[in-house]
């Protein structure tokens, strides 16, 4: 097991100070559901980590709010807290569904939004939903603050472009138009405590019988999380129909192969990501 020192931050500013002071050799810990596992197996991703900075008790990081047309989520919000948020349930039911499928009750009690994002697992259940929502991340460090698109931070699996002295403080996204249906569909090897073999998050806005907007994002499918715009384009401007859904789903698998290449698992993933996409779209459209 890796050896390190433990530091406790009492506020966001304090955490930023510590991150700056031990830049490059420290990691933040909140729920610890990923990093504890990595520590136990001497994961090389932790590199030369010498300090753990605990932000688990920084309560200013834990909130869900609505501000005008925007929903603001504190970086330290736990999955369990998200599951019991009426605001999230009402506005983004697929987000609640996704986080409710993460790990076990114990994991959901501890695990946080920012932790899940920073771990940057290709199989994350939360990231595809936030990507579909075009969520923005507020990053803070001693040198200031910046706001970035969530999809822009993923360099490769388990690696983000967030700099070592920065921390996520807030996640935000615009509320969806009233006529929007959402869905999150996940396939794992078993029914609970399961990592997604693949997952799909979609939101579809239908106005006057026509799909005005569609957003599709999938986990364990693309090299880095992103919206699959070519598939979204197929849907936009048309009336929902079986063959339309079918072609959008096919486009998702086509895009997967185009971007990730044809791999040993593609023989399975290709037909199944199409099925999952179809199911998600139908669910969002309320046609099944």
């Amino acid at each position: 097991m890796l050896r390190f020192d433990y530091l406790k931050a009492v506020s966001i500013d304090n955490a930023c100070e510590l991150l700056s002071q031990y830049s490059g050799e420290s990691r933040l810990i909140a729920g610890g559901t990923d990093i504890m596992v990595q520590i136990r197996k001497d994961d090389e991703r932790l590199g030369n980590m010498k300090y753990i900075i605990d932000i688990g008790d920084v309560c200013e990081l834990s909130y869900v709010e609505s501000e005008g047309n925007t929903i603001l989520i504190g970086a330290g919000l736990t999955h369990k807290e998200a599951c019991s948020s009426a605001l999230l349930k009402e506005n983004v039911p697929f987000l609640v569904e996704a986080v409710n499928s993460i790990g076990s009750p114990q994991i959901r009690n501890r695990g946080t939004f920012a932790g899940n994002i920073c771990n940057a697992s290709p199989a994350s259940d939360l990231i595809p939903v936030l990507v579909a929502l075009d969520a923005k991340l507020r990053l803070k460090s001693m040198s200031g603050e910046r706001v970035v698109e969530i999809a822009s931070i993923f360099e490769k699996p388990y690696k983000t472009t967030i700099s070592p002295d920065e921390m996520i403080t807030e996640i935000s996204f615009k509320k969806l138009p009233a006529e929007t249906g959402t869905a999150f569909v996940k396939l794992g090897y078993r029914k609970a405590v399961t990592i997604a073999r693949m997952n799909v998050a979609v939101c579809v806005t239908v106005e006057d019988g026509v799909i005005a907007d569609a957003r599709i994002s999938a986990g364990s499918v693309m090299p880095t999380p992103c919206r699959i715009t070519s598939a979204e384009q197929i849907l936009k401007g048309s009336r929902p129909a079986e063959n339309l859904i079918e072609s959008a789903a096919k486009e998702v698998s086509k895009e997967m192969i185009k971007r990730s290449g044809y791999r040993w698992s593609t023989e399975y993933k290709q037909p199944v990501i199409e099925v999952l996409t179809k199911r998600a779209l139908k669910k969002a459209l309320g046609v099944e």
Binding site: M1, V37, L187, K191, A192, S265, V272
Partner: protein, 766 residues
């Protein structure tokens, strides 16, 4: 006898709470890993980086300099690196990734960890063999010195009944199929742990061990220390699950801890992490099975031939597993001509060993699908075909054993078929619309109770009635979570007619009783308690003498009931057991009996696999209901009806517990548990990757318990631990076929295999 409840027992047939339940659920139970002795230090192992490699150079100098490191032992420091069996305590040639190249003892787990990481090893990789085919190739590297090939010759077991060639010639149809199964991990909740204490008062070494077979563990410790067996004491605290896994794996670490303890003169604890446990403990053998059957037009089986090869991994001492395999390979069917060949080959994989079912579940998975495939080729309903051919009272088994005791398969099958509405559903599910398809599948099996002709199923026990009327049980078999302490207490309670609360069975201490063999083969209750019943009866007879004096009557006129002695001719004339025990003791007598049960000889010819293989058999029928997502391959096991002939139900609640666990384990074997070894490397070393069913995945389980009158086991009991899991693979596979119209002939039936109809190899298998 339908279901349970028609036998007249006072203490058996009762669902009393487990005697160890309270301590376990309140966290009071002390397991081996909880034991901390004064001055105790920590032992650990450095495992090989490669599945087949020679250690060219090993440098421990850096590790040795770490303060708090007490001992580092490599191959050259150990006088006897090879155990009494084929296994290595520590080696310079690693034959699998669980092989150990260095042993370390240190002040704390942290220092131990640091020391293990500071050992520098340079390996020379050797070419490895991983599949059965690779191991048997003509130019294959041979794993073990002195062997001509990788075939483990003693593991070749045969059945030769009748003449299969003649049987095939008389058949109207011949069908052949191939099946395969994978490694399966035990997944006991408690990883292996030992504490070795160099306590001179008790001999050379005392070891507290999570052992399934403490006397067997003793042999390893005496071996490594090169001392007589009487110098080693093994104490067995409560064990958190074993399922066959805590035999040689625990023997090895007990020996290593003992050696480190001897060298450092400090108590040494070795407690395996989950990763180490998965690396070192034996898995269920992966099987390759080829089946060939001949049948007549009217659906009578004429001949069956089974060729089975098992993947042993690097080391193996379980040649007798294939005795079990051979006896059960042809299934619970009466076939006039049977030929079975089964053997194992060594490979550079992790070790295969005993795992709940002892290599019967693999054959049942195969034969239960095979019988349905044969029926289908014949154009016959599979159930009809099974009804026609299954074993009945008076049948001759594949080993030509005549089944003289009741065979209640008919009754069990028909009850389950009716209760599950099997026939209607089976027909209906053959044509369904929509992506989610339902399926129902049935499997039957029979299981030889106890060790049978594998080896003498003898064991001994001591029953001691103390001066206050309470009873101590000493027995060589262990409670490993299956509930043996409760079952034994009930059996003694029944025999003596005293309450279970007056009986105490603490567990095994090898200094207190002779070796009663291993707690395996579901023999604990059915055979292991034979001696217990007789010892208790003899204790009762002893006490009757004292009671007769106190009641002023003849011994023949005295009876014991509910802890009260009374005169048969005048039940009002009575005296409490406690008073009799007190008098018995103070008059210089002991109400204590040690009895060794030695079963009658069996008539079995191993060379042709003919004769009486087991004293009797337990019969099973399982129906599994599934929902298959035909677009993703996900198999949801929705309901399982598991019906078992237990002979006599000692404790129906515990039987249901066994069956619930067996169903979950069988579900894992059938659809979920994919133990991934790639060129000898284990990719599923913890439960993040090795997927077992959670409580949410486990189906709704209906347990049906049947009793019958069979004199072979104690109080008519039969085995249940292993029968409860072994039919699951076949039942689920048949249900998947019913849903999808496609056979999964290679377990586990995971999402990829069910969807694509083939195994998807990581990296394309390169």
């Amino acid at each position: 006898m339908p279901l349970i409840g028609q036998k007249k027992f006072k203490y058996l047939n009762k669902s009393i709470p487990r005697v160890d339940a309270f301590n376990k659920v309140t966290g009071k139970t002390r397991f081996v890993a909880d034991i901390n002795l004064p001055e105790m230090i920590y032992g650990g192992m450095l495992h090989s980086l490669y599945p087949h490699a020679r250690v060219k150079r090993i440098d421990v100098s850096k590790a040795r300099k770490i303060p708090g490191v007490y001992a580092i032992l490599t191959y050259k420091d150990v006088k006897k690196p090879k155990s009494w069996a084929i296994f290595m305590y520590v080696t310079d040639v690693a034959r699998h990734v669980g092989d150990v190249v260095a042993l370390v003892a240190a002040e704390s787990p942290d220092i131990l960890d640091l020391a293990l990481k500071s050992i520098e090893v340079e390996y020379e990789e050797l070419p490895g063999v991983f599949t059965v085919d690779e191991a048997m190739a003509e130019d294959a590297p041979i794993l073990h010195e002195g062997m001509k090939s990788n075939k483990f010759e003693p593991s070749h077991f045969k059945i030769r009944k009748g003449d299969v060639q003649k049987g095939f010639a008389e058949s109207d149809l011949i069908v052949e199929r191939d099946y395969e199964t994978s490694h399966v991990e035990h997944v006991y909740i408690e990883p292996e742990a030992v504490v070795a204490d160099p306590n001179p008062n008790e001999g050379a070494m005392t070891v507290y061990a999570t052992s399934q077979n403490p006397y067997f563990t003793r042999r390893w410790v005496a071996d490594i220390l090169d001392v007589n067996v009487n110098q080693v004491r093994i104490v067995q605290p409560p064990v958190g699950g074993a399922f066959g896994g805590k035999e040689e794996a625990v023997g090895l670490i007990a020996a290593r801890a003992a050696l480190l303890a001897k060298i450092t003169d400090r108590p040494v604890k070795i407690a395996l992490s989950r990763e180490e446990s998965i690396l070192e403990s034996g898995k269920r053998h992966p099987f390759k099975l080829h089946y060939k059957a001949g049948v007549t037009k009217d659906g009578k089986l004429k001949a069956m031939e089974c060729n089975i090869i098992s993947n042993l991994g690097a080391y193996n001492m379980h040649q007798y597993m294939n005795f079990r395999t051979s006896v059960h390979a042809a299934g619970a069917y009466e076939i006039p001509n049977v030929k079975v060949d089964v053997f194992g080959v060594f490979t550079n994989n992790v070790v295969s060993a005993a795992m709940r079912g002892y290599s019967a579940p693999q054959t049942i998975f195969a034969v239960e699908q095979f019988m349905e495939e044969v029926a289908e080729e014949l154009g016959m309903e599979p159930l009809e075909f099974k009804r026609k051919n299954h074993l009945k009272r008076g049948s001759l088994t594949a080993t030509s054993q005549k089944l003289t005791a009741p065979v209640i398969l008919d009754e069990i099958i028909e009850t389950v078929v009716k209760k599950t509405d099997y026939e209607r559903k089976h027909k209906q599910y053959a044509s369904q619309n929509g992506p989610i398809k339902k399926g129902i599948g049935l499997a039957i099996c029979f299981r030889g109770c106890g060790l049978g002709s594998e080896m003498k199923d003898s064991s001994g026990s001591m029953v001691t009635m103390t001066e206050d009327g309470s009873v101590l049980i000493n027995h060589g078999l262990v409670d490993q979570g299956q509930g043996l302490k409760t079952a034994y207490s009930q059996i003694v309670a029944e025999t003596l007619s005293i309450p279970v609360s007056n009986i105490h069975f603490i567990g095994v201490d090898t200094h207190s009783l002779p070796d009663g063999g291993m707690t395996v083969a579901s023999r604990g209750t059915v055979m292991g308690s034979q001696s217990l019943k007789i010892a208790a009866e003899q204790v009762k007879e002893m006490l009757k003498r004292s009671a007769a004096i106190m009641l002023e009557t003849d011994k023949e006129n005295v009876e014991l009931e509910d802890a009260m002695f009374y005169c048969k001719d005048n039940p009002e004339k009575r005296i409490p057991l406690r008073d009799v025990c007190t008098m018995h003791y103070w008059t210089g007598q002991q109400a204590s009996v040690y009895y060794w049960f030695y079963p009658p000889d069996t008539n079995y010819d191993m060379s042709i696999g003919q004769g009486d293989a087991f004293p009797t058999y337990a019969y099973t029928c399982v129906v599994a209901e599934v929902e298959v997502d035909t677009e993703t391959g996900f198999v949801d096991v929705v309901k399982v009806t598991s019906a078992h002939d237990v002979g006599t139900a000692v404790n129906p609640s515990l039987i249901r517990g066994q069956v619930n666990g067996g169903v979950a384990m069988g579900q894992g074997f059938a659809v979920l548990e994919d133990f991934v070894v790639e060129k000898g490397r284990v990719l599923t070393q913890n439960y993040d990757k090795y997927i077992i069913p959670t409580s949410i995945d486990v189906p709704d389980i209906d347990v049906l318990i049947f009793e019958c009158d069979d004199p072979a086991g104690t109080y008519g009991t039969k085995s249940i631990g292993e029968p409860s899991t072994e039919a699951m693979g076949g039942a689920i596979a048949n249900a998947i076929y019913n849903a999808t119209g496609r056979r999964v002939r290679h377990l586990p039936a995971n999402i990829e295999k069910v969807l694509l109809g083939k195994k998807l190899l990581r990296g394309g298998g390169k």
